[in-house]
């Protein structure tokens, strides 16, 4: 608990210490952190590795952009509409993708993701084709605080990510949340206890899509454009990396992972041509030495009290 509060205070006072570039980077970190956190619902808590999470992120962003181009730019209308669109898409996709499991689930989600990517690329009249939809203004929240100011927008994003974090942490304390975690631990045992495990995975898939849509909305308002690139599987791949590096099943971990990857990607590329090489090596070292991601590592050091805590990853006798 203490760890969480210090982190929050740090995030609140951060904008005053940072230059405008640093602030813009932090805003991206928080937005991608929310996106990775939503993926962690699937990977860390349900045990589903989805390769099309960027689809819901992109759909959320596209809905806001398309609504703007049709004259609807009221923030309090666009946001729920976008999140609803992602949720609706997930309710449909979920019915099909959840029939497969393991590597097949990975691949069928990749397939659907790429289909929606191709749809955004081709449907020029609706999605602006491969040039995407530029020119999306910052949201007007109705009260006098202007979102064009970087610091105000930073706090808007901070509010959303904190709300989401609290909401999700509470979810995973409720019986429904415990049950979802149970599915990850052992689906067969959950069925033996009387749980409809398919329904639990379905709900997790839909909930995760909603939060990904929310992250997409913040993304399009911040960057002012959306293009098919954000729907591509490489974007889903990056989200998976953020979750794994940050530490699965910790909600905070993926936000740290997002920070590490984005900061590396931006700062490193300024200093060395060979930044992919460095990032690649970091990933490899991370897998071999830091077993459960940064957050998991930190948690382990912090909670030395937990009797003989071993990394969950490799312990399960199968």
């Amino acid at each position: 608990m203490f760890l969480g509060v210090t982190l929050l205070i740090a995030l609140i006072i951060l904008p005053f210490g940072l230059g405008s570039y640093g602030l813009s980077l932090m805003i991206s970190v928080l937005i991608f952190g929310l996106f990775a956190m939503s993926l962690d619902i699937l990977i860390g808590y349900t045990g589903l590795v989805s390769f099309n999470h960027a689809t819901f992120f992109g759909v959320g962003a596209y809905v806001v952009a398309i609504l703007f181009y049709r004259g609807w730019d009221n923030f309090w209308l666009a946001l729920p509409a976008a999140v609803a669109a992602s949720v609706l898409l997930a309710t449909v996709l979920g019915l099909v993708v959840l029939r497969s499991s393991g590597p097949y689930f990975l691949m069928i989600t990749l397939a659907f993701g790429q289909m929606i990517f191709a749809l955004a690329w081709k449907w020029r009249t609706f999605t602006g084709g491969d040039d995407g939809l530029p020119g999306i203004p910052r949201p007007d929240l109705g009260f006098p605080v202007s979102m064009w100011n970087e610091q105000n927008f930073y706090y808007l994003v901070l509010v959303f990510i904190c709300l989401s974090f609290l909401l999700l942490r509470q979810l995973f304390r409720l019986p429904l949340g415990r049950a979802i975690i149970g599915v990850k631990e052992s689906e067969s045992r959950m069925q033996a206890l009387g749980y409809n495990t398919w329904l639990l995975k379905y709900l997790a898939y839909v909930i995760a899509a909603g939060f990904a849509g929310l992250a997409g909305v913040l993304y399009v308002y911040y960057n002012g454009f959306i293009s098919p690139q954000e729907l591509n599987w490489t974007m889903s791949g990056m989200a998976i990396l953020m979750v794994v590096i940050g530490g699965t099943g910790t909600l905070v971990g993926p936000v740290l992972g997002a920070g590490i990857i984005l900061i590396l990607q931006n700062l490193l590329s300024a200093y060395t041509e060979r930044w992919p090489l460095v990032i690649g090596m970091l990933f490899v070292i991370c897998v071999i030495h830091v077993k459960d991601g940064i957050a998991g590592y930190v948690m382990k050091l912090w909670e030395k009290g937990w009797k003989g805590y071993e990394s969950p990853g490799s312990e399960k006798p199968n």
């Binding site: 230059g19 813009s24 020029r124 040039d131 995407g132 020119g135 002012g224 690139q229 954000e230 931006n266």
Partner: protein
């Protein structure tokens, strides 16, 4: 090509290192993504490649200049040339299925149809196709010629496969200069001989400025300059000329912008100036034919179409 990373870098340049002018930008998607941010921060932009017509059209701004080309600008004259000089009546058009490819194809098709020609077939392979076999097999052999636009990694594959599938001997190939870019010619080999293309620059252009540019470029980089080299040179030259015109003082933005607008000089590609209204580039278009001279493939210029005769106009 990832617009999100590009925007982050632009923020680092403008906010972090508070630069005064930005130039470069290859991809149109990235250009569109940066447009609002740069215009808002009143940073003059000299686009050195991105060809989307909208950047100097409905998304234009007094801060945006373009020294490269607008998609369709040097394709349009090829329509007239093909109909009137080459007497072609029925043409098949092929281009990659993305915004720039379609815009360039429209440039050629509009002018060819305006002259009375007929586009009997349009084939748009998906971007990043590696195997053109299925598309080449669909080409309607009754056509008089095939007009294509491909660039980057596609142009080597396409030209070679065009020959492999035997189309080279039965259907003359018209194209944009991008297809026979000087960096691709050595890899395309003899398959590229005979291609007639339209472009705003050729390394084989026989003018004193270009000869000097080619020799010094070849000495420094050990390879032939191509359109990107010329566009980079022109972008830098425009900035230098504008700074000289204002004595290096850019505090008065309006004065500096009009200085840029009025830059005129003879570049390796020929006479260079901006269209005062759209701030898009105005250039002569060259019809070139790929030939093998002393064992080396070159794009010899066979006709120059002055800017005034170029019927292309900025779509509103």
């Amino acid at each position: 090509m990832n617009p999100q990373v590009a925007l982050q870098k632009a923020r680092r340049l403008v906010d972090g290192e508070n630069v005064d002018i930005v130039t470069g930008i290859v991809s149109s998607t990235v250009a569109y993504a940066l447009r609002d941010y740069l215009v808002e921060n009143k940073v003059p932009v000299i686009i050195a490649n991105a060809g989307a017509a909208g950047l100097t059209g409905e998304k234009g701004s007094k801060y945006i200049f373009r020294v490269s080309f607008a998609n369709g600008q040097y394709e349009y004259p090829m329509g007239d040339y093909a109909y009137n000089q080459l007497n072609l009546r029925r043409v098949v058009v092929m281009a990659p299925d993305y915004a720039a490819g379609l815009e360039k194809a429209r440039g050629f098709m509009d002018s060819f149809r305006a002259n009375g020609g007929e586009i009997i077939q349009e084939i748009y392979p998906k971007l990043g196709t590696t195997d053109y076999g299925p598309y080449l097999a669909q080409v309607n052999k009754e056509a008089d010629a095939v007009w294509v636009h491909f660039s980057g990694t596609d142009c080597i594959r396409f030209v070679k496969q065009y020959a492999d599938y035997g189309l080279k001997d039965i259907l003359p190939l018209l194209a944009t200069g991008d297809l026979v870019d000087e960096s691709a010619l050595p890899h395309q080999g003899d398959a590229a001989i005979g291609i007639v293309s339209s472009h705003h620059y050729s390394a084989a252009l026989d003018t004193p400025e270009n000869r000097k540019f080619v020799t010094s470029y070849r000495a420094k980089y050990g390879e032939e300059p191509n359109m990107y080299a010329d566009q980079g040179y022109v972008a830098a030259r425009v900035i230098v000329e504008a700074l000289e015109a204002t004595g290096g003082d850019i505090s008065d933005t309006e004065k500096f912008l009009s200085a840029i607008r009025n830059v005129r000089f003879t570049a390796p590609r020929g006479p260079f100036k901006f269209d005062p209204e759209t701030q898009n580039v105005i250039f002569d278009t060259y019809i070139q034919k790929t030939e093998k001279i002393h064992g080396k493939l070159v794009n010899t210029v066979i006709k120059t179409i002055p800017a005034a005769e170029n019927g292309w106009s900025q779509p509103k």
